[in-house]
């Protein structure tokens, strides 16, 4: 999937996500991050500098039809139910960012263990 400028198309941002055969629905930008919704996938994916930083579960029935921010709250439209869901970031959550070795060891090992056990994917 690509994310391109229109008019004189100047560049294309490839999100790097490969979800085969999944058409796109909508996206929003917030605090420099990209929030992406896919048809048939009940998540909103958050990207930072081209890297996925989280997958946010949404109670839609066929994926987020529309994504928008008002302030820091995320609004996601579900066409099937005619609902718009409001999601708020956790109060007191740490600043988003990329963290290094302090967190890397345990989590990488946890991921490694899960890959070995066939739990990933």
């Amino acid at each position: 999937m690509n994310f391109a400028t229109v008019g004189t198309q100047s560049f294309v941002i490839d999100t790097g996500t490969n979800i085969s055969g999944t058409p796109l629905y909508d996206f929003a930008e917030h605090n420099g991050n990209l929030f992406l919704g896919l048809q048939g996938v009940n998540n909103v994916y958050e990207f930072s500098n081209g890297s996925l930083v989280q997958s946010i579960p949404i109670p839609t029935s066929f994926g987020p039809r529309g994504i928008a921010f008002v302030g820091n709250d995320l609004f996601v439209a579900d066409r099937s139910s005619a609902n718009i869901y409001e999601l708020s970031p956790a109060v007191g959550a740490p600043e988003p960012g990329t963290y290094g070795l302090a967190l890397l060891g345990g989590f990488a090992l946890a991921a490694l263990r899960s890959i070995r056990q066939g739990k990933l994917g």
């Binding site: 391109a4 718009i84 946890a110 739990k119």
Partner: protein
């Protein structure tokens, strides 16, 4: 860290035996996401690199029900929700408060697919023409200007604005010439 709660949320395709997987774990400190590269012949044995991201988790705090509205897309002007409905050849844009109160409706007279807010106007996408078209609409009462041809793109489906450029979400495959 609890490995049992770790799950892969997205994959990169493997290239020359190198694979990447994003694994995610929700903790009381936020959402941890690891960007992990490994070799498909030695799963779990070779990590070329791994990065960990932390972002704020989102929780559902409110549900706005709009019975009778066939919602095609939404956008925001920073204060209100702009809801694109589906009425044949005359899609309405409803201006709602974030609690779901309808303030005003603008009948576009168009068959639209997506909205974006530029800071002063709405830009609306009419996909499917060749080229695809966008319109600029002054809310709440108009007028609209355009159409402006863009693309053509392959299944364009989302619009955005980054402060200077219009952004369009589309599939990577080029549309065949008609």
């Amino acid at each position: 860290m609890n490995a049992a709660s770790t799950q892969c949320v997205a994959h990169y395709p493997c290239v020359s035996g190198e694979c990447r997987c994003y694994a995610q774990q929700v903790t009381n400190k936020g959402v941890l996401t690891s960007d992990t590269k490994y070799h498909d012949a030695y799963v779990g044995h070779i990590f070329s690199y791994a990065r960990v991201f932390l972002s704020a988790p989102f929780t559902l705090t409110n549900t706005i029900s709009l019975p009778g509205v066939d919602i095609k897309n939404i956008a925001s002007d920073g204060t209100h929700l702009l809801v694109l409905g589906n009425v044949y050849q005359n899609d309405p844009i409803g201006i709602y408060t974030t609690s779901g109160q309808l303030l005003q409706t603008y009948q576009t007279g168009l068959a639209l697919g997506a909205l974006a807010w530029t800071g002063s106007n709405v830009v609306a996408l009419e996909a499917g023409a060749n080229p695809d078209l966008v319109y600029r609409i002054s809310l709440p009462t108009g007028p609209s200007s355009g159409p402006f041809g863009v693309g053509p793109f392959f299944y364009p489906s989302g619009l955005g604005f980054d402060g200077s450029d219009l952004l369009l979400l589309t599939m990577p495959k080029a549309r065949p010439a008609s």
